[in-house]
């Protein structure tokens, strides 16, 4: 009887809390994308050049590509464990709108995987010789852009969750859709590096994220319903 | 004639691009027609096989 009185809002809150608790229990898993992020970025000076000016030029792009790959790597965790233990079916069957529940799960996933990337990014910006302003812009761009990465990624995982081995497939499906985030995000930092106004880039990035916020949960919910059936 | 094939010195670029398109379009067309033929005969054979079995039993 209690179930009927649970509002959608509190269901969403409960879902976020649950996912965060699970993530805290396995803190090692949480660290992996961040470590991957750091390692990938530090491979570039070794492979391209340690030259300061060149690193400054390529830095924003490298950091963004690495952030994108790190997000992609952690993406499967958003629905796959729940699919394997049957929780996902419960969510699909619940009386609450699935798109909002998906939104809650995406939020939890972003808190666990996106936020650590943002926190560590100033350090990587320093490694890439970015200026102080550029590092601030980098953080801002990541704050505005990574939600879109998680939201679009959730659609991709929703589509591929029924497939046993979906590693590369997920990247094929998702990466082309990440192009606008990459362009606006890296563009903002590059603009800040040459003392141009990064605001247009940031606004475009924010509007893309808001747009994803409006559409992606619906698409992921549809995708999940198809995959779970 | 030689002038035509020479394409004002751009022969390689012009003819390669036309060749790529021509080969892909022709291959696509022929292969899907061949696939159709194969499907018809394959499905026919399957049906024969089934009828043969039901007759025997």
């Amino acid at each position: 009887m209690n179930d009927q009185t649970v509002s959608t809002m509190s269901a969403m809150m409960a879902l976020v809390r649950r996912d965060l608790i699970i993530a805290m229990r396995e803190r090692g898993d949480m660290l992996q994308p961040v470590l991957f992020f750091i390692i990938v970025v530090s491979l570039f000076p070794l492979s391209v050049t340690p030259d300061k000016t060149l690193l400054m030029q390529a830095g924003p792009g490298i950091i963004w590509v690495a952030a994108l790959l790190a997000t992609l790597l952690a993406l499967d965790g958003i629905f796959r464990p729940d699919h394997e233990d049957g929780t996902l079916e419960q969510l699909v069957l619940s009386p609450h709108p699935l798109s909002l529940l998906v939104l809650a799960k995406t939020l939890a996933h972003w808190l666990v995987t996106g936020l650590p990337l943002i926190i560590i990014s100033p350090l990587l910006g320093m490694l890439m010789q970015l200026s102080g302003d550029a590092i601030i812009v980098l953080c801002g761009a990541l704050i505005l852009g990574t939600p879109a990465l998680s939201l679009i990624g959730a659609v991709g995982v929703g589509l591929t969750v029924g497939i046993r081995k979906s590693g590369v497939l997920l990247s094929l499906v998702i990466l082309p859709l990440y192009v606008p985030v990459l362009i606006f995000g890296a563009g903002a930092v590059q603009a800040a590096m040459v003392s141009l106004d990064p605001q247009p880039h940031l606004l475009l990035l924010a509007s893309f994220s808001l747009f994803s916020l409006a559409f992606c949960p619906l698409a992921s919910a549809t995708a999940l319903k198809i995959s779970v059936n | 004639m030689a002038e035509f094939f020479n394409m004002g010195g751009y022969a390689f670029f012009v003819w390669t691009s036309y060749a790529v398109v021509a080969v892909l379009f022709t291959y696509q067309f022929l292969s899907s027609r061949a696939q159709h033929k194969k499907l018809i005969s394959q499905l026919g054979a399957e049906a024969e096989h089934k009828i043969g079995r039901t007759n025997k039993s």
């Binding site: 497939l169 192009v179 606006f184 | 004002g8 670029f13 899907s32 159709h36 026919g44």
Partner: protein
């Protein structure tokens, strides 16, 4: 009561022609009948277009004869975009109204769209070498085409990876719809990025008037490509219909007849 029944019957008649497109047997018959004639029309148009484009049209005063690649590049690029939109629309119709034929149309278009995108990329870079001096320039249109190719590849990979055919077409329909919403945004972002990085160094074909002897072959080739596309879709659709419906009565009748 009587008026109501009259009304519904009238509506039924009006929609009769439309309903046929939902019937696999009827669509198979249609595709079977028209694939070849349309293909022949395309072939004739290709012959005329190639004659006009390669022999009649004069060389360009700036680009010489290399501009003749445009006669196949532009229609390929058009069809690559057009087929993505048609594929997404068809997949979307299949997803919402559960029309099997619509799903199969989308499935038939996907490899064709990838082929046209590939052709547009190859011809674009072969045109770019004499014009820009390198095979690949990160120009907005070529980059958009490249992303479009990735979108097609993702769609094909997803629909091939899911074993159950119905789930596969429904899942890939969602992807196609997400892609089609994203495509204008991707296009805009690539253009934005390109103007920031390249400025106006890449000159486009923006000349006020184009010689009619050049315009005519372009138009003929354009129509020819579209006819080819239609014929190829029907050809592929026949195969998809047969293999999807292999256990139905109408397929048995066709196979034996």
């Amino acid at each position: 009561m009587t008026t109501e029944s009259l009304n519904t019957s009238g509506r039924g008649k009006k929609w009769l022609w439309f309903h046929r497109f939902g019937s696999p047997a009827w669509v198979y018959g249609f595709a079977n009948r028209w694939a070849m004639p349309i293909g022949i029309v395309a072939l004739l148009l290709f012959v005329v277009g190639l004659y006009q484009g390669l022999i009649v049209a004069p060389p360009d005063y700036q680009m010489g004869d290399s501009y003749r690649i445009i006669f196949i590049h532009v229609p390929s690029a058009w069809l690559s975009m057009f087929s993505y939109f048609v594929m997404a629309a068809s997949a979307g119709i299949g997803l919402v109204w559960h029309i099997k034929v619509s799903d199969l149309v989308a499935r038939s278009i996907a490899p064709l769209g990838a082929m046209f995108t590939f052709c547009a990329l190859v011809t674009g870079s072969l045109w770019g070498k004499p014009t820009w001096g390198t095979y690949w320039v990160w120009d907005a249109r070529l980059t958009s085409e490249l992303v479009l190719l990735f979108l097609f590849i993702g769609y094909i990979a997803l629909s091939n990876a899911i074993e159950d055919r119905r789930t596969a077409s429904r899942a890939s329909a969602v992807l196609a719809l997400v892609g089609v919403i994203n495509l204008p945004i991707i296009h805009f972002s690539v253009e934005w990025w390109n103007t920031l990085h390249q400025g106006s160094t890449v000159t486009k074909l923006g000349r006020p008037s184009i010689d009619t002897r050049m315009l005519i072959p372009l138009l003929i080739m354009f129509v020819a490509f579209n006819f080819y596309f239609l014929s190829a879709v029907l050809n592929r659709l026949r195969c998809e219909l047969l293999s999807q419906e292999r256990r139905t009565q109408w397929v048995r009748e066709i196979v034996h007849g």
